[in-house]
Every structure is written in C-alpha cells, then in structure tokens.
Symmetry: C3
Subunit: 167 residues, 3 copies
C-alpha cells in the first residue's frame, strides 16, 4: 500500500489517501495497536463489498448497572469500536476504503435490572458518526446478555461496506 | 412517491404499487406510526440490495416464562414486526420494494427456565409469511437473553432484500 | 443435481464435484441426517451470493461452566456445525458451492461465572477450517446467554458465500 513521494505521484491519491486518519487526528482520537484474534477466527472477512468484522470485547470488565456505571460502559464501548477500527485499518491498509458502516451489534453484559443497553452502545455509535459522518450512521442492535468472554462489559461487531477498488 | 389520480396515470403503477398495503388490509393488519430511533443510529441502512433494519423492542415488558406467557410474548413479537415494517415503509416509500426477508433475529427476554424462544419468535415469522408469501420465509435465529432495553419482552432485527429500482 | 455415469460425462464435474464430501471422509467426519426447522422459518435462505443459515441448537443440553464442561460444550459446538452443514448440503445439493464461510455467530448458554465462550465456539471454528481450509476462516462472534431454545448448550448460525453457478 505504501508508495514513495515521487514527482509523478498520483495527485488523486494526494487528495484522498488517509482522509479518515486525518479526521481521527482532528477529533483527538488515537487507534490502539491492532489486537490479534483470541481463538480460531479472523478479525475481518471480506465478501464482495462487505467486510464482516469479528466481535471484540472491551478491556473494561464487569456487568453494566452492577460493577460498572452506564457512563463507564459507554466509554468502554467507545474504546472498543476504536480497537475494532485498528483491526480494520490493518486489514484494509487504510480506513478510506470504508464506504459505510452498515450494521453494528452490541452485546452489553447487564446486571439483573439494567435496561439502558442503547445508552451504552451509543458510546460507540457516536464516535463512528463523528469519524465517518453520514456514512457512519448505521443500523444497530443493542442487547443485554448475562455473560461475555473474559467477563467483559461490552462486545461489538460490525458489518462495513467497502468502496470498489476501482471507484 | 405519491401521485395524483390523473387520467394518463401510468397503468403499470396502477397494477403494481401498494400490493403489500392491499395485502395488509386483506389480513386485517394495520401498521402503527413509525417509531424514531431511541439513540444514535438509523432505523434502516441500505447497502446494495440489502436493507439492514435496526432492532426494535416490543412495547410489552417483562420476561417470557415469568411475568409474560408464551402467547403474550408471541403476540408482542407480531406487534414488533409490524412496527418494524412501518419503519421500513417510511424509509422505502413502499413495502413493494421488498423482494425477500432474508434473515430475522429475535432476542427473547427469558425467565431462568424459559426455553420456548422459537414459539415466541414464530409470532413474528408467521405474520411475515402471511404478508409476503414465499418471499417472507426467512432464515432465523431465536435466542434467550437475560435483559433487553427498557425491560422489553422481545427484540427483533431483520435483513431484507430489495428489488432493483430498475426491475 | 444428480447425473448418470455416462461415457461422455463432463470431465470438469469428474474433477470437481463432491470435493468437500471427500474431504469430510478424509477427516473421518460424517454429517448427520439434515434436521427440519422446528418452527416457521427455513433452514437456509439465499440472497444473491450469500446464504443465510438459520441458527441450530446443540443436542447437548445444560449451561456451560455449570452442568456442562468447556470440553463437552466445544464438542457440542463441533456436532452442531456438522448438523448445520448437513442442512446446507441438502439445500444446495453439494457443499462444493460454498466459496467461503463469511461469519459465524455462536451463542453459548453460560453459567453465571462462565467466560470461556470463545473456547466453546472454537470447537465449531476448527472443524470449518479443517474442512474448507482458508475459505473456512471466518469472522465470528461468541457470546454468552442465559437461556437457549430447549435448554441447549450452544446455538450456531452462519453466513456463507456461494460460488456463482457460472463460475
């Protein structure tokens, strides 16, 4: 994906490459180092113009509404979606190939009486919209589960739409 | 999408527009006013010929098998899928653009010993088949969760396939 | 799909048909008889080149980490994915039409302190990779739920990508 700063470098690339990285910087957001899958699966699987992004759990542990507040859980969701984007960027070479966020599903580990799963997953949805604008607005499911891998607070998966390589 | 009853009105439209609305009337079904998303997401997101429909929770509250009977939960699933179709109709302008229901996922808030999630989600599946016929038969997941947003009984999401605009 | 062993039989078919069935035999794996859906849905729904495969629950019952060990639950996941492939084979006529496993979602019925859902779903992921090689590597979600239909231990769904009929 890398290319040298040659005299005849494609001016289209000058204008368009790394737009999303610049947007991340403007927002003061940094992506963490991309994580490796913890088991026998891949972080991303491309199928035509769709990219299925495997679920990732938050580093924050504990059930929302019990050990973890709704604000802490929403912050965990934001950190998790940035960690997903790090995996996607490594896979694609550049986040500029993302045409749209089609769907996000958020599983929130919930204490027995916790019913604010949408407010938790909003932590991730808001940052996607901040980064990608209209293209970042997505269909969504936010649901409550009793347990998650490693006792995490939030688990997020996405389906992205990619630009044609030609386009 | 609206068009007046002009003398020269396209006869193709006469035959084809609003077929599903007529089918709903035949079945004695009425769609409720379309709900707005409760958080930072969109109700529908189109990607190529797929339409991702965000999860919606039932107005019925309480856990199936505990506060809510299986029949009440199935009725809640039917009402929820009609509410989803209202959102889809507002988004597309007409339900006649739906070529097929590809996938429905139903999360059923379940009491500790409740294991009849398929019977609950059938309330929604049956009405889709009644409305859309063979095209309404879908792949499905019906699973049990401990909590749902707002303490709802059922949560449904769908992936629809759309006709080409050209077709 | 069947064709007689005629003298002029297409030699391309001689080489390519039933490759995956031969691979299953090499691995010592047998698919069970295909199950029928337990409710008002279909086992598989094709949409363009995607095949949505409805969720199936394991015959093994009980919560992982409580009544069922992690190894028993992983074995249940392996048996369940083979049962899913039996449904897919009946639907497509041959597993050789599968171009890739795009996504698998595994719901693991989990005791209160069970957090090894990835190790359970690995039982299914490993066998998909053994059968399909690189094409079997998939995006994945492994999550923990309080209940599943019939009290099952594991529930698996898949999205597959199909070869063009022409290709």
């Amino acid at each position: 994906m890398a290319h040298g700063p040659g005299v005849y470098k494609d001016r289209y690339e000058d204008l368009h490459v790394d737009t999303i990285d610049r947007r991340l910087a403007e927002l003061g957001l940094t992506l963490p180092p991309p994580k490796r899958p913890v088991a026998d699966y891949v972080g991303c699987k491309q199928s035509g113009q769709q990219l299925f992004v495997s679920a990732l759990v938050s580093e924050t542990r504990g059930a929302a509404g019990a050990e973890v507040s709704v604000d802490q859980a929403a912050a965990a969701a934001e950190a998790t979606v940035l960690a997903l984007l790090a995996i996607v960027r490594e896979h694609l070479g550049t986040l500029d190939r993302i045409a749209a966020v089609d769907k996000m599903t958020g599983f929130v580990r919930s204490g027995p009486a916790f019913t604010s799963q949408p407010a938790v997953v909003d932590g991730a949805s808001r940052v996607l919209i901040a980064i990608f604008g209209e293209a970042g607005r997505h269909a969504r499911t936010a649901t409550g589960v009793a347990q998650l891998p490693y006792g995490a607070t939030v688990q997020l998966e996405m389906i992205l739409r990619l630009h044609d390589r030609i386009a």
